[in-house]
Each structure stands twice: as C-alpha cells, then as structure tokens.
C-alpha cells in the first residue's frame, strides 16, 4: 500500500498553471527522486505534501488520510510524521542550534529538559555537528545549516522526509555527507521524496524517479527500468539534452 499518493493534482498561481493532472505514489520505505528542469514546480509539489500549499483540485493522501483540504490544526499530526528538510535549512536565525533542535521536542513531546539535551547531543553527533551546539545559524556554513535543518526535521523520528534540494550549492565533501545521511535514514526505513538536480546523489539514494515536465509527470519508473530505456527523458535530462 502506498504511504504517499497524489492523484490528479492541479495547482496554479493566479492564471498561471504550474501542475496539471499530476499523479504518483510512494510505498513505505521507498525513496522517490522528483526531478525536472528549474522552475518546473518540484518544490511547490513537495510543499503541497505537507499542506504548505493548497492544490486547486486533486487529492493528496498520506498513510490513507486525505490531507488535501485539511486545516492547519488538522495537519499537525501529519506534520509530526512527515518532516520537511528545507533547501536553505530555514533555521530560526535568532535561536542557537540547540534551541532550533529543541523546538519540535518542546512543542510535541513531554520530555524533560535534560532528556531533550541528551537527544540533541546524540542527534548532533550523528550528523557530525557536535561542536555546533551553541552556535547561531549565521555562524554556520551553508552545508552545516542544511545538516542542522535536516537534524531538526528528524528530531521527532518522522516516518517520511521530504528533501528540497538537500545538496544544492554544496561542495563534494558536504554533498557526500548529506548523501550518507539520506542513505542512513533510508536504511532505517524512512520513506522519502527527494527533489534535486544533483543526479549522482539521486541515483545513489532513490529507488524510483518521477520526471516533471510540461506541468505533469512525463515519465516515472524504477532506476532499473530507466537504465534499460536509453531514450528515456531522464537519460536525456542527465546528459543535458533536455530542460
């Protein structure tokens, strides 16, 4: 059974349609790579999966629940199990790394402050950020900000993670670090959707791909299926012959 399912999704901004008739699904434990040219609306689609954008029509189901037109309050339980890793980290810039990571725990758990501190230290060590505990976002590099954002998204042990360009603008070392993190989470059974232009990372971590073009999913399939099909759109996209 699919954990995430989108059916006939349509979204427009004013008179400009961004998506039309988009449908795909992701099974539990799978990692879907959502790829496509710049500005084709990958992030809009990803944001819609946790209700940050509302579609004009169609359905979005998470774990069998139709979240399409849920209110912000109704979305709270969904957002606890579906985490969103923002492109730039979206860290609270007036709070330290510790405060950023403590935020979801203080809001949604009954942990004591010492339990929260222990969990944060453990999480930061796992993400290779043990020394960043008291730093502020402005004191972190781009790669560190992304990793802290990812660590914060993971604090509530979500079932699903939505990654928005997690490796964009990073050097090969940090790209590899993020790649390893995604793989580690995937091995723990976390379901994920990865929006990216970084095809080596996508190929390394994704089980299947959906290619977004002309407002809809133009092609989808597993990496094996796409590897066999040499004239596929994704192949052309990787080789730079297609926008």
């Amino acid at each position: 059974m699919a954990l995430i399912e989108i059916k006939n999704f349509r979204k427009s901004f004013g008179s400009k349609a961004v998506h039309e008739n988009v449908s795909f699904y992701v099974k539990r434990g799978e990692c879907l790579g959502l790829v496509g040219g710049s500005g084709c609306g990958k992030s809009v689609l990803l944001r819609s999966l946790i209700g940050l954008e509302k579609p004009d029509s169609g359905n979005i189901e998470i774990d069998g629940q139709d979240i399409t037109f849920m209110s912000e309050t109704e979305l709270i339980p969904i957002r606890k199990k579906v985490a969103y890793a923002f492109q730039g980290g979206a860290l609270f810039d007036s709070s330290s790394v510790y405060e950023n990571l403590a935020y979801p725990l203080r809001e949604h758990t009954l942990l004591t402050e010492s339990q929260i501190a222990d969990k944060i230290k453990k999480q930061l060590t796992e993400f290779g950020l043990a020394d960043a505990l008291q730093l502020f976002p402005s004191e972190l590099s781009g790669g560190m900000q992304k990793r802290v954002g990812l660590a914060r998204a993971m604090m509530l042990d979500p079932e699903v993670i939505l990654y928005d360009e997690p490796t964009a603008g990073l050097d090969p070392y940090n790209t590899k670090k993020i790649q390893e993190l995604i793989l580690r989470l995937k091995n723990k059974g976390v379901t994920s959707i990865l929006v990216t232009h970084d095809m080596p990372t996508a190929i390394a971590v994704c089980d299947k791909f959906a290619f977004l073009k002309n407002k809809t999913i133009a092609e989808q399939g597993t990496i094996e299926q796409l590897k066999e099909k040499k004239d596929s759109l994704i192949h052309q996209f990787i080789e730079g012959n297609l926008l």
Binding site: R47, I50, G51, L52, E72, T73, L75, I76, P77, R79, K80, A83, Y84, F86, Q87, G88, A90, L91, F92, D93, Y103, P104, E107, H108, R152, A153
Partner: protein, 266 residues
Amino acid sequence: MSEKSYNSFEEIKGKIKEQLEFFGGTGFLIRDCFYELRRKPVQMNLLVDQIYFIGVKSLPLIILTAVSTGMVMSLQYGLGLEKFGGKPYVPRLVASTILREMGPVFTSLMLAARVGAGIASEIGSMVVTQQIDAIRALGTSPIQKIVIPRILACLISLPLLVAITNIVANMGGLAIGYYELSLDPLFYFNKVLATSNLKDYIPGLFKALVFGFFISVSGCYFGLNVKNGTKEVGIATTKAVVVASLSILVGNFFISKLFWVIEKWL
C-alpha cells in the same frame, strides 16, 4: 475607452482590491488569533520577550518624546495665555491635552514607527527565509508563536507607556512652567492633580488599547503577506507604518468624538 483612462481604471481597481484584501486579511488574522487562543494558552515566555522588546526597549524614546511634548505645550500655552493673564490655567490645559490627546497619540505614533516597522520587517524576513514555513512544517502555528505574543504585548505595553508619557509630559510641562513661566511648582503640581480626573484618563487609555491593536495587527498582517523576496520586506514595513499611523490619527478623532458624546450623555 482610451489607453490612459483604461490604465487609470485598472489602477483604481487594483487599489480597491488591495484595500479589500487588507480588510479581509486582517479580519481572517484576528479570527485565527481567537481560534488559536481557544486552542492553546498563550506562551508566557514569548509574551514576556515581546513586552520587553515592545515596552521596555521603547521607554527611552517614549520618555524623550513625552518630555519634549510637555515642555512645548507648556511653553506655547504659557506664551498664548500670558497676554490675557491666563498663565494659571496652563497646568490644567497641558494636563488635559496630554491625558486625552497628545499622550496616547504621540506615544502610539512613536510606537508605530519603532514597533510596527520592527514587527513587519521581522515577520517579513522570516517569510522570505522560510522560517514561517518551518514553524508550520514542524506542526506549530505562526499565529500562536509570532502573531499573538506581539498583539498581546502591544495591548499590554501601550497603555502602560501612555501612563508613563502622561506623567513625564506633565513633569516636562511643570519644568517649563517653573523656569519659563515663573509658576510655582507646587501650585502647578496641585493644579494638575486637582483638575485631572477619570474623564481625562479613560479616553486616553482606551485610545492606547485601540492604537496598540492597530499597530500590532497591521505589522503582523503586512509582514505575513510578504511574498516576493527582500524588496517586499521594505514595502511591507512602509505600509505597516503608514497604515498604523493613519489608523491612529483617524481613529483618534472617532474615539474622541465617541467619548465626547458619552460625556455629554452622562
């Protein structure tokens, strides 16, 4: 229809739409605040932080404005009334004008500039850097975390700041009364106490509450409605200050008129 008149028509239509969106948007924002207040209690640490930023940190500005206002009024009334031998009426006139009009209006205008701009730019920047989205994505409410503490802090701080303005401005008036108008300080002080009453205080404090609401709601509304990058943060800040200031000045007339009618009726 010529192209010029068509463009003017479109511009007017756009302005009307913007106004309607503002009234509708603030209506929804207030509704969401009530809904969130019913759903979850106010987080006291956030409220205290905002009272500190909005109230305590505004004190030097408010004190300076108040003392200057009181001094200028005392001087002007003194100069005007001296010709008719009306200097003894200066304390009463200064006190009444400050308590009813100048205290709440000047304090609110200063706060609209400092706090309204601060709220709009801070929230606008949070929108641009996706921090508001992050608050939502982490299963929490920006209304609960950002908007409600700021509105409540304004509603609590402004009447207190106005009370301080009332005292400081009258002290400024007393200083000028003594040094420039040769009025006995004790006479001035007693005159202020004897002639000021609840009818002077209540309209001023009521205005402070209403103006605090105008400042915070417009700051939050324009901040949350930033969409297209940092340039809009500046525009939102300007709009928040302009709308809050105009609301204060126009609102002041209507509240004064309301209390005038009530006083006549009583």
